[in-house]
């Protein structure tokens, strides 16, 4: 039997650093900035934090930080409290929040901290994700695969089955760059045109430069507490509740592309994680019941697949959903009002925590030009490894 997180955990503070090429800041600088912003927002100090979770995907891949709980304990002086590091591909930051929420829901802790952080720009360009695939992993299987390559194969198959094309993907890039232009913490803050997207150099055909999220530094943090303490102990009138959390591992990391059952037009992991989260949250019609969403747009094709896998539209209808403006600010279900991974960048361990923190700001009405008015219920989604694992959160304003 699976239980439900609904109503048990409150998010009372959120912090997000500027995302970008932060050559002047260290990993610890980012962690401290995000955590202390969340402390301040929550009205707590480090002494209130009983336990913490750190999400960093790949320490030793492009930096030395984040190998374990002590990386966070040291940066924030959380000695001698229980602190753990978690990793789950690109859902890593959300996993830190999920672990922290479960610790609260279990009754083990009253007030906890979840931080996601990744410092990806302290290495040469090829020291990044490309090198991870070429220089690490299995000596034979999937050699030659890259992050964009492992999603571009879905774009190709999706085009084949539904007649979509690169212009459909460009709609996602243009929308998310527009949203990013309104977010002062985004890595990219310039609007782009469809022509620019289509004329950009190919990265992994059929994906071009503007179909891909950048390599970025950043961190985000949230402070969680038992729901009943939000007001009773911390005097919060407005806060955010976790209504549902789902996680699914639906294929293997290396074996996905070998798996005869893998459709290459969507991700079972997302569908299953959404099912779990919707069940806990009591969501039956996500398109109607969700007011704002942050989904994993590591590549433009991914956002289109996410619309469908999350149940916003039927399979094959993703391109029309974005073309209609439904997922743009002012549309019926604005998606990635932060600019998404496309504009914010994707510091892997930070992203999931950034999604939760950003939706917290949306639900509390703090997003200025990009605020979705009256947003009461939000959905956060991350997807990793490539499509092997997905995490979905449903959040609401108290």
């Amino acid at each position: 039997m699976s239980g439900s997180i609904a109503g048990k955990v409150a998010i009372i503070g959120a912090g997000i650093t500027k995302f970008g090429e932060l050559f002047e800041q260290s990993y610890n600088d980012l962690v401290v900035e995000a955590a202390f912003e969340a402390y301040e927002d929550a009205g707590v100090s480090g002494e209130d934090i009983e336990a913490a979770w750190l999400g960093t995907y790949l320490p030793l891949g492009w930096g030395f930080d984040g190998t374990g709980g002590p990386s966070l304990a040291e940066a924030l002086n959380l000695y001698p409290k229980p602190v753990s590091r978690v990793a789950n591909y690109c859902t890593t930051g959300m996993e830190a929040v999920r672990m922290a929420a479960m610790a609260v829901a279990s009754g083990m802790h009253d007030v906890v901290l979840a931080v996601g952080a990744e410092k990806m720009r302290e290495v040469p360009p090829r020291g990044s994700l490309v090198a991870q695939h070429v220089e690490k992993l299995h000596p034979m299987y999937s050699k030659g695969r890259t992050a964009p390559g492992s999603f571009a194969v879905l774009a190709r198959r999706y085009f084949e089955e539904f007649g979509a094309d690169k212009e459909d993907l460009a709609e996602v890039a243009v929308k998310n760059h527009y949203h990013g232009s309104l977010n002062k913490r985004a890595h990219f803050r310039k609007e782009i045109t469809k022509e620019q997207v289509l004329k950009a150099p190919p990265v992994t055909e059929p994906l071009g430069l503007y179909d891909c999220c950048p390599t970025t530094d950043g961190a985000a943090a949230v402070v969680l507490c038992r729901a009943e303490l939000a007001e009773a102990r911390f005097d919060k009138k407005d806060y955010v509740l976790i209504d549902g959390m789902g996680l699914s591992c639906a294929t293997g990391y290396i074996t996905t592309a070998f798996n005869p059952k893998f459709s290459f037009i969507g991700f079972e992991a997302t569908q299953e994680a959404a099912r779990q989260a919707y069940e806990q949250a009591g969501v039956t019609n996500p398109r109607e019941e969700i007011d704002v969403a942050e989904v994993h747009d590591c590549f433009t094709i991914t956002e289109i697949l996410n619309y469908e896998d999350l149940g916003f539209v039927e399979k094959g209808e993703g391109p029309d959903f974005v073309k209609s403006g439904a997922s743009k600010l002012g549309g019926e279900l604005p998606v990635n009002t932060s600019g998404g991974l496309k504009s914010c960048g994707h510091p892997i361990g930070a992203t999931g925590a950034r999604v939760v923190a950003d939706l917290t700001h949306q639900l509390l009405g703090r997003c200025g030009d990009r605020q979705v008015k009256g947003a009461k219920r939000a959905l956060g989604h991350t997807l990793g490894g490539p499509g092997a694992v997905s995490s979905v959160f449903v959040l609401s304003k108290n």
Partner: protein
């Protein structure tokens, strides 16, 4: 009587054109077209392809394997054992790496034939393969040929060409040589080595066979001799004195170039695929003496025509676009350094899956999985697997061209292919024309050098268009 039962050949599809060389160096015959191993090919991979062309895809009964080359990738460590694994030969197998001379191909053929005659081997495979070394701007650059040939030997009804006699002799002679580590072949005085080396020795080799067997020149339908160039081939032919009709009208040395130890076997495979029953064929290897082998085509000889030989490869030839590619293929242009992770213990543990392409079929639920886990990913049964070799051919389900990873061609095409017999394979494509790749395209698995992580050769399978 021992004889040849099956044949196969492989010439790489890439060609270095004389015009491409001339554009860089100012000289080079515009008609020249040198077969060139790709950046992911070496004598082992080419030998595997020739061997599979001869022996088929799995289920082989070969019990001895002779691998001849003057350019073995490994100076120390068995090369033949890589061929044996990739061609999925039985594990109870005698292997021998033969080298040291361009005569190694015929020497290996003799040793295999003797083993069959002696009864120590029931089915032997002889493979000769070369990646011929030449320096940029040298005449050898256009006169050499990379490639591989394979013949299977046995006794019985399926013999397509009986080996009636073999003559060998030895005479220490310096014509061409190469010391360990040198990137090109050196040669003695041109006139001396032609007259006293190639011509005199080849004549002695063939005449030794004729006098040993009592055969006359009129008895022989086809005479195949080794020569480093077309001019020398013509000189040998004149001196040997067979009727003109006995020599190939357009010998491989003129069509393709000097394939070293692979040359006699390539000529033999090509000749047997065109031979009629009853024809006698002489094939001679050269090098500090020589071997001459007398064969007689049987009623079965036409059965060899359906196997992939020289003609099959040549039809697929394609010129490389520029001289820079040649430099990259040969590691002569600095590449971004990558150090892929690898491990001898992983390669050993997973050998049946990675080299022999063995998938698992779950006995509990029937699911085919590759690469398989210990626990079935469909039903959860633990260690309930039957082994099944993946099919070789399939159709592209999806693919991409990726410009991010370092590659001599500037991009890597990755594809997932649905294989005949079940399962999918996901990996790099090779020999593809970028704009021709499409969903549904027929592909086949070919054995290639994937990378040189840890300093040794890491071989694996790639996907090649097969339409």
């Amino acid at each position: 009587m021992a004889g040849i039962t099956r044949v196969g050949a492989y010439i790489p599809f890439h060609r270095l054109g004389g015009d491409t060389v001339r554009a860089v160096w100012g000289s080079g015959s515009p008609r020249a077209s040198r077969p060139l191993a790709g950046f992911d090919e070496d004598p082992i991979t080419m030998g595997v392809e020739a061997l599979i062309n001869a022996a088929g895809w799995g289920d082989s009964e070969v019990d001895s394997l002779y691998f001849a080359s003057t350019s073995h990738p490994y100076a120390e460590k068995s090369n033949a054992s890589v061929l044996a694994a990739a061609a999925d030969l039985p594990e109870k197998l005698f292997t021998l790496d033969a080298g040291g001379s361009v005569r190694a191909g015929t020497s290996a053929l003799k040793a295999a034939c003797d083993a069959i005659e002696a009864g120590s081997s029931k089915a032997a495979a002889v493979v000769a393969a070369e990646k011929r070394p030449s320096l940029p701007g040298s005449p050898d650059e256009l006169s050499l040929c990379d490639g591989a040939a394979a013949v299977l030997l046995g006794k019985g009804d399926d013999v397509a060409a009986e080996i009636e006699a073999i003559y060998s002799w030895s005479e220490d002679f310096i014509d061409r040589w190469r010391l360990p580590g040198e990137g090109a072949v050196s040669a003695g005085d041109a006139k001396f080595i032609q007259d006293y080396g190639y011509v005199r020795q080849s004549v002695a080799t063939v005449e030794g066979l004729l006098s040993q067997t009592g055969a006359t020149r009129e008895d022989i339908a086809r005479v195949l001799v080794y020569a480093p160039d077309a001019r020398t081939h013509a000189a040998i032919a004149r001196k040997l004195g067979f009727p003109d009709s006995a020599y190939p009208e357009n010998p491989l040395i003129a069509r393709l170039g000097d394939a070293g130890a692979a040359a006699p076997l390539l000529s033999l495979v090509d000749a047997l695929q065109n031979a009629e029953p009853g024809e006698h064929v002489i094939v001679a290897g050269h090098g500090s003496g020589g071997e001459a082998i007398l064969l007689r085509a049987t009623e079965e000889v036409h059965s060899l025509r359906s196997q992939r030989g020289v003609g099959w490869s040549v039809e697929r030839a394609r010129a490389i676009p520029n001289y820079g590619q040649w430099l990259k293929f040969n590691g002569l242009s600095p590449e971004e350094e990558i150090k892929p992770f690898t491990s001898p213990s992983i390669l050993w543990k997973e050998n049946r899956a990675t080299m022999r392409l063995m998938a698992g079929v779950c006995r509990a639920c029937g699911e085919l999985q590759y690469p398989r886990q210990q626990v079935c990913n469909a039903c959860g049964a633990r260690d309930e697997w039957d082994e099944r070799k993946l099919g070789r051919r399939g159709q592209i389900f999806t693919f991409i061209h990726d410009y991010l990873p370092p590659s001599p061609e500037g991009f890597i095409t990755m594809a997932t292919v649905e294989l005949e017999g079940g399962g999918r394979f996901y990996g790099q494509m090779t020999n593809q024309v970028k704009d021709d790749v499409r969903i549904g395209m027929e592909c086949e698995l070919v054995f290639r050098l994937l990378h040189q992580g840890d300093g040794y050769y890491n071989y694996f399978w790639k996907l090649r268009p097969a339409e």
